[in-house]
Amino acid sequence: MRVVALLLCVGALGCLAMAMARHQQTVFGRAFSIVASRRLRGAGWSGLLIALWLSVADQGWALGLVAYSGITSVAAGIVYGALVVCERRLARR
């Protein structure tokens, strides 16, 4: 269950990151439409909320909240690292 929540958070934070124009430029070379960005942001926040619900449903409020904080931190780190790697690889091309 924790792995599911982690993967969900990685996806959600990835969506939130890609909702930013700067990253759209970096990864895809062009900015998305405002509607697309808004959808990505919505998907991102929804994903984070669903992951929270999964954590709490699985382990109760106390442990669930604590596990959720850890999972979001690690997921943020993963997305962040992926962005850095992406940026470097594209800069080299």
Binding site: A62, L63, V66, A67, G70, S73, Y80
Partner: protein, 537 residues
């Protein structure tokens, strides 16, 4: 019109003031905070470190039965500390393969302490005949009260640093208001900006954790830091006692009857606790007035699967073994404090949760470290003559090296000392601590005489070497080399060796990075602006 000499300097804006506050708060105590963070981080695995530091004890595949362990230790204490008014026995857990006890000595010999402290083998109840060492407790104790200081001063120092850290966090967030938006923008390898972005990223990752851990750290010692309410309200011993019971299950020894009576079997009492709270979930047994008719035994619940340290305990009559009282609830404020305390200690979770704590805490350590280094990187570019920096800059630079690279070397040196010091040396545990500090001082002196950049590279390289060779030293000095630990399924020892190698790789990578880094030359502003624009395109 006032003359120009009396004109006030232009007032700095709010963000600038918050940024200055953040820099000063961080810089004044940054080195101590780094040490607190790193020792706190490793303390999440202190029981495993303690196991590693007592290699004579075989790998504990199955947790020893805590009830039998309690009974056996109580029997030993009955022989060793029969006249003591109080024994506190800490039971083995799935992670800790020893039992320990603390007891009061009513009539200490002159010059001796009024209490006794020992570690016991849970299977025999005998005092451990292994090397005398503090184990992982050394790092935990350093974390909140340091060494060579009276304990109260050490805790005040830790608390003051924690308060500075809270201010640094809040001022940092105010300075960087668009913090969550800017979070994902990171520039790689671009001198000062990339250090700033690394520092920001690490801070934001674990922002909830950092704020929580700092505030809850203050909460753990709150009765020391803010005793005023207690002074005003708890004016009678009865009130004080009622208050204490909200925070812990400790009870001061009551009046004796001076009628000798055998202590009832303690293992039965522990089993009642296990029936109630789960197998192995009994943390400690507190025996007051053992051997007397007024004996009492308090059995306290363990930390597993419970996000609160509020006391839950069973009170037994020490002679008849009858259950006298069950306490499992405390008031709302006390319960809040219990939860906050448990969040800081992080003992409630399983292995995965503890690793999460460890990783995010390590990020916090890196946050403090990058902040300290960033200060020198920023200031170096503003120096009129980079070859001859002013005194303040040099102090910060050397302290950075000594407290960042130096702490890694000192902590590894502590572990080396554990393997190299002969087992029979008197006061061995204390000598291990002295080794830690001697190594640290040595590193500081080295950092003072070498040029700064070379010192970073050499010391980080030394740390990498010491870490990488520690498993080799372990293999040579004990019968538990890496390959045998893996074959036996001993993941404490095997995991420890792997962790040392991973940390060695990390330090080696940092040393290489330091070696390749060339401080940016001071070029004319026009050229720099053009160069930056090219890089950003």
């Amino acid at each position: 019109m006032k003359p120009a000499a009396n004109a006030k300097p232009p007032r700095r804006g709010v963000r600038q003031r918050m940024s200055d506050l953040h820099t000063w708060a961080g810089l004044l105590v940054g080195w101590i905070l780094y040490a607190m963070f790193l020792t706190g981080t490793v303390s999440y695995f202190k029981d495993e470190i303690s196991q590693w530091m007592r290699p004579e004890l075989a790998y504990q595949r199955v947790m020893p039965d805590p009830a039998t362990a309690a009974q056996r230790v109580a029997a030993t204490l009955g022989a060793v500390a029969a006249d003591s008014p109080q024994w506190l026995i800490t039971l083995p857990t799935t992670r800790s393969n020893v039992a320990s006890a603390f007891w009061r000595v009513p009539h200490p010999q002159p010059g001796k302490l009024p209490y006794g402290l020992a570690t016991f083998d849970p299977s025999t109840g005998e005092k451990l005949a292994v090397r005398d060492t503090l184990g992982g407790e050394f790092f935990l104790r350093f974390h909140y009260q340091f060494y060579y200081l009276p304990a109260v001063w050490g805790r005040w120092l830790a608390g003051a640093c924690a308060m500075f850290m809270v201010v640094a966090i809040v001022s940092g967030v105010i300075t960087h208001k668009k913090i969550f938006v800017d979070f994902f923008t990171f520039r790689w390898g671009k001198g000062q900006r990339s250090w700033l972005d690394a520092h920001n990223a690490l801070s934001v990752f674990g922002l909830p954790f950092h704020l929580m851990i700092t505030y809850t750290g203050l909460v753990t010692l709150m009765t020391l830091y803010m005793p005023w309410g207690a002074h005003a309200a708890l004016t009678t011993p009865a009130r004080q006692h009622a208050f204490d019971l909200q925070l812990s299950s400790f009870m001061p020894p009551g009046a004796r009857a001076d009628v000798p009576a055998a202590l009832a079997p303690v293992d039965a009492m522990v089993r009642v606790g296990e029936a109630r709270w789960g197998r192995g979930n009994v943390a400690s047994v507190l025996v007051t007035n053992p051997g007397d008719a007024q004996a009492r035994v308090v059995v306290t619940r363990g930390a597993v699967a419970r996000v609160s340290t509020s006391p839950q305990y069973l009170l037994f009559d020490g002679v008849s073994g009858r259950l006298l009282d069950v306490r499992e609830r405390v008031g709302a404020a006390a319960q809040t404090r219990g939860v906050l305390y448990a969040l800081h200690m992080g003992r409630f979770g399983d292995l995965t949760l503890r690793w999460l704590y460890f990783v995010v805490s390590l990020a916090g350590t890196a946050m403090v470290g990058t902040g300290l280094v960033m200060w020198t990187v920023k200031r170096r570019q503003k120096l009129p003559d980079p070859e001859r920096p002013h005194f303040g800059f040099r102090v910060v630079e050397r302290l950075n090296i000594a407290s960042i690279a130096g702490l890694s070397i000192a902590m590894t040196g502590f572990l080396w000392g554990n393997r190299l010091l002969p087992a029979a040396v008197a006061g061995r545990a204390r000598i291990e601590v002295d080794v830690f500090f001697a190594v640290w001082v040595g590193v500081l002196l080295y950092a003072l005489v070498r040029p700064a950049r070379r010192a970073w590279i050499e010391l980080l390289g030394l740390a990498a070497a010491l870490l990488a060779l520690l498993p080799v030293l372990n293999a040579l000095t004990t019968g538990r080399p890496f390959w045998r630990s893996v074959a036996a399924g001993d993941w404490v020892y095997a995991g420890f060796d792997l962790m040392m190698w991973a940390l060695a790789a990390l330090h080696a990578a940092l040393a290489l990075r330091a070696a390749r880094h060339r401080p940016r030359e001071r070029i004319a502003d026009g050229r720099r602006a053009r160069a930056l624009r090219v890089e950003d395109a």
